[in-house]
């Protein structure tokens, strides 16, 4: 029973972090209908940003968050204006966006190897606070609690942005239909570019926390993070950013319970859930069929 509660609590904390890992991908997909296959690589870059801050500048890695938000906002605008309008005009935007972002992923990984080498890098967990904290009489590493709290805060910001600001309404309007959105006077490009910036920033913030939740980092972690994010996003509901929280927590709980009771099968979990959900409810757990006509 002790183990059960431990798996439950750590699963939820781990899941909240993984919701943050996936949410940027979902936001970008929702707004642009493009799957950012380089998502995991942006997380990796965010992680190396935290590592640089810690090991080269002797900063608390969490202080990298505001700096990374600024940098990745700019990168997001750059990526958007450089590629997306042109892609949208092409004959097959979905397929071409796959190829484009796959290419970007490869380039980022290759450049990261040049810059940081192939070896694992890590940040001591104790930089987020020493020791452990007791939740329901289970002692949980303090760094997990801090990471989950920051993840929750960031998801809270996304929620606030989408549901309580006019730009957020406009973002959701674009998710519903870019054409309708421009018909009420929304500058679709500007808002979409902003969403791209937010999406990449969220990936980078997840990256800052990654050394504490995922473990050591190296330039090759991007691809598997993209796959995991994609699974989480689909489990929740593609194109519905808040559904990602549910997807993340289901993923986290499944991982932790499998590790506790059937460790060898752990890696199958996200994909088994994914397939089950695609069979039973293809629109994702929170997906609703909205009549569009």
């Amino acid at each position: 029973m002790e183990l059960f509660f431990y798996a439950l609590i750590s699963g939820i904390l781990y899941g909240i972090f993984f919701a943050l890992v996936g949410i940027g991908l979902n936001l970008i997909f929702g707004v642009m209908r493009m799957v950012n296959l380089a998502h995991g690589d942006f997380i990796m870059l965010g992680a190396f940003g935290a590592w640089l801050a810690y090991s080269k500048l002797n900063m608390n890695p969490l202080l990298a968050i505001p700096i990374e938000i600024f940098i990745f906002m700019i990168i997001g605008f750059g990526v958007y204006y450089a590629f997306v309008p042109r892609l949208s005009k092409s004959r097959d935007p979905e397929m071409l966006s796959f190829i484009l972002f796959f290419g970007i992923a490869q380039i980022i990984e290759a450049l990261a190897i040049f810059a940081f080498g192939n070896n694992q890098k890590s940040i001591p967990f104790s930089t987020l606070g020493k020791g452990s904290i007791s939740i329901l009489s289970q002692s949980i590493p303090f760094s997990w609690v801090v990471s989950a709290a920051i993840s929750l805060l960031m998801i809270g910001f996304v929620y606030y942005y989408l549901y309580f600001t006019r730009t957020g309404y406009a973002t959701r309007a674009i998710m519903s239909s870019p054409e309708e959105a421009s018909s009420v006077g929304i500058d679709v490009s500007k808002i979409s570019a902003f969403a791209m910036g937010i999406g990449l920033s969220l990936a980078a913030i997840a990256g800052v926390l990654a050394p504490f939740m995922i473990g050591s980092i190296d330039p090759s972690i991007g691809a598997s993070l993209t796959t995991t994010s994609f699974a989480i996003v689909v489990i929740g509901s593609l194109g519905k950013p808040i559904g990602t929280i549910l997807g993340g927590i289901i993923y986290g709980l499944a991982m932790m319970f499998m590790q506790t009771y059937l460790a060898s099968w752990t890696n199958l979990v996200p994909y088994v859930i994914l397939i089950l959900i695609l069979l039973v409810k293809p629109s994702g757990l929170l997906g609703k069929k909205v009549r569009n006509a």
Binding site: E2, L3, Y6, A7, S10, Y14, N119, Q120, K121, S122, P124, F125, S126, G131, S132, S139, P141, S143, W144, M213, I214, G215, S216, D218, S224, M256, Q259, T260, A263, S264, T266, N267
Partner: protein
């Protein structure tokens, strides 16, 4: 990784392949004379001494967690069968995916089985994650064993910190393990001096293995009477078992697998300036006594 690709290519083209550190038993077969492993025995042999250490110290509740790959699985299986032969049944014995990067919950699960020793077989990434999570979890074990601190100490220490390695056990390899009997090539002290002078990098096991491969190839070319692939292979047979390098005895079996070396058990013990790796078993080469249970 590369070895598994190179072995069939070499066999196909009848070219002798010298491999510095490939350890999978699957590489070797009696039908393939074109493979020579220059350092490290096949992985299945590695935990032999470790098993003896556990048995002789009456550590009879052992937890084994290993990454699901050939290299780690073969070690886990050897350890399990040796322990079971001594009537010790592991209290926890599970594989995890090789890309496991978070062991926190696993460590908690293992803790619940109250083992007297926890053996983790993984690749360097796994060992780093495991040692980090172990430290952060605050869980205490009498004995913790991992593979790679004994081979790539600088990398692991940089990632997990010195504190996380204190009192843990590993397989010591050169340069952490020094062989005094050397009849071919430089001894460790000399090699270490020259290598660091020229490259400005520290020596680790892989450097030693690379140098050792060079020595074996040099000796082969010097010994062989003819310059064809099988003659080279036969030349190796003439000095196999007689050559002592900084990496210990070079001896191969008829499949080309390394059988001269064995991997002892070492423990990182804290000193005033950091940690030092003492060979604690077998006794005839021990440089220190094991501190068990870990304080």
């Amino acid at each position: 990784m590369l070895t598994s690709v190179a072995v069939p290519i070499a066999q196909e083209h009848k070219m002798l392949l010298f491999d510095p550190t490939g350890t999978s038993a699957k590489f070797f077969s009696p039908h393939n004379p074109y493979l020579v492993l220059t350092s490290l025995p096949t992985s299945g042999v590695w935990p032999t001494v470790l098993a003896d250490f556990l048995i002789s110290h009456k550590i009879n509740k052992v937890a084994v967690i290993y990454s699901a790959n050939d290299f780690n699985q073969s070690q886990a299986e050897t350890l399990k069968s040796k322990l079971e032969a001594a009537k010790i049944k592991p209290v926890y014995y599970h594989a995890v995916p090789t890309d496991t990067s978070n062991y926190t919950v696993l460590i908690r699960t293992i803790e619940a089985t109250h083992p007297k020793a926890l053996i983790e077989f993984g690749y360097p990434t796994n060992d780093i994650a495991f040692l980090q999570n172990l430290q952060a979890s605050g869980a205490k074990f009498n004995m913790v064993f991992t593979i790679f601190p004994g081979q790539q100490l600088a990398l692991i220490e940089k990632n997990v910190g010195t504190k996380a390695l204190e009192y843990t056990y590993t397989y010591p390899t050169p340069p952490l393990l020094v062989y005094n009997k050397v009849n071919y090539g430089m001894p460790m002290s000399e090699f270490e001096k020259i290598y660091t002078q020229t490259t400005k990098r520290p020596v680790d096991f892989l450097t030693v293995a690379g140098y050792n491969a060079g020595l074996i190839i040099q000796k082969t070319l010097a010994t062989s009477k003819e310059f064809n692939q099988l003659a080279l292979r036969n030349a190796i047979n003439t000095f196999s078992g007689k050559l002592f390098t900084l990496n210990g005895l070079f001896k191969i079996n008829n499949e080309g697998a390394q059988i001269g070396e064995f991997l002892p058990v070492g423990q990182f013990q804290p000193t005033k300036t950091g940690i030092v790796l003492h060979v604690v078993y077998p006794q005839n080469i021990a440089t220190g006594k094991p501190i068990y249970p870990a304080p």
